[in-house]
Amino acid sequence: MDMSTPVSEAAEAQVAIDVDRVSKIFPGEDAVRALDDVSVGIRRNEFFTLLGPSGCGKTTLLRIIAGFEPPTMGALRLDGTDISRLAPDQRPINTVFQNYALFPHMSVARNIGFGLEMLGKPKREVNETVDRMLKLVQMEALKSRKTSALSGGQQQRVALARALAPHPRVLLLDEPLSALDLKLRKEMQIELKRLQSETGITFIFVTHDQEEALTMSDRIAVMRDGRILQIGSPRDIYQRPAERFVANFIGESNFLDATLSAGHVTLKAGGGAFAVTAPPGVADGPVSVLVRPEHAAVRAGSPAGDELPATIRNVVYSGDATTIHLELGSGELFKAKMSNSTGGGATLPSQGEPAVVTIAPGAVTVLKD
């Protein structure tokens, strides 16, 4: 299977990090194949996200790019030059660590200036950059604080400033927001996006949070068991997931049995034929399809046309929306999510009563598995 998107000549020239058939096997009795023949080209000035559940290999890939782990097989190129043999301190790549890894025996300013200091930059330049960085992350007031006296969000900003100060060609971020509370996390998401566009540095971001990935990324690679399952824009990944795992991992999903024939699918639950673009390699016959809950509407009454008959199992109100759990005529369970602003939830039939489900045109996606 060739998951890497075919790149045009122009796009190839833009590739900053080229991960070329990299595998990683951790030695030991139970040798784990943490990465399995992974190839991906990450473009210059891109906000690229590695998304997947824990243990999928995303952090391992990040550590290989940073140079903390050597790859077992394969090559790693930065702007066309092989860097797999370079030590971390020889790569123009910096990392924002998950626990920030701020040096506890140094002040905020010395932490931020550390990289430039190590590069042997003159004192004046170091100081100027430090001041600029402090301003960039809005931490001017805390310049000479000890890092242990900072809050989580402040430590986060210092870690960012420290990694950005040497102006690396690529910035790696290892779940940097996971230790923050929800509100701060949302703020930092926007902040990170701003920093990326202001600095023009390629960001490679690792997360297991699908919402975070969708909000911030230019492109997302979904990983599982050491492989990349799909690479694409957030819209691609959400609306046209290639596999059941991707669909399930990102957003809420209904999986339904259907039959594919000549570019159309017929659901087992009824409701007429839907025009679809089947992914390559999927032949006509029985298939599995995805319908997002928000692409379905529910009303009382009897079915007409492309509507599906169903019975209401449960109605869950959650503020902005109402989720309706139904049983379709085929016996399959189905979730529909309706925005409350349209008043959709108000006139719903109650539990046990018959209802009708309407699936929006184009909302049916054929899955590959």
Binding site: P88, D89, H105, M118, R162
Partner: protein, 284 residues
Amino acid sequence: MAETSLPATPESAAAAAPRGRAYNARTLPGFATVAICAFVIIYAPIIILVVFSFNAGTTLAIWEGFSLRWYAQAAANEQVQGAAIRSLYLAGSAATIATVAATMAALATTRTRRFPGRTMIYALINQPLMVPEIVTAVALLIVFAWVKVATGHNSMIYLIAAHTAFCIPFAYLPIRARLETMDMTLEVAASDLYASKKQVFTKITLPLLMPGIIAGYMLAFVISLDDVVITEFVKSAGQDTLPTYMLGQLRRVVTPEVNAISTVILLAGAILVSLFFWFSRGRE
């Protein structure tokens, strides 16, 4: 439900609460009394020893007024002077060598997956802790007696070697403990920020490890300073340290001079231990 209604037996009634005091699961009857007695027993003999070192009289039990005469006498005693200098020289050399060796060994044996021979290195480093001192002492007597005859060399080197060996595990412990709680990503972060291996060590690892190294040094110093048994068996003539000098004195008539020396040793030890506590806890 009816059966468990009210405490019926006197035993379970007693469990309710000791009369007159609020219930507290952390108090056990009599334990505090025993503990206070224990602290009194631990400190009383030491305090008596210290007090009588200031006795003007020659006896150890009858107080005849305050005086520093025994300190003056001990300070003027050339044997005591020699022993004191030797003790400090020995502890200083042994602790220094042991701390350097232990720091290197601790860096080598921590923060890594199992590697061939690691268990053996652990076992060897801790070996001096596992064998009774008297056994090590006579083993050293046997070997060093042979080496002394064979080489005709009789300097302090034997004592320094013996002390260094048993100081290594004591220096190793706090350094290793410190290393194990140290965040490894800090070093990774430094190398990510263009620090070379040497710079990572001097700018990150060493400064963060320093409290552990100082604690290890203190511990090794105290252990060497306190040693009697191994010194007694390894020393050649005229190589008495303060503890072996005192041990020799105990065979004769005991005067408060011994108390005075003891008090000084106690004081030195207490200062070092306090410093040890300070450094081993000193994070901030």
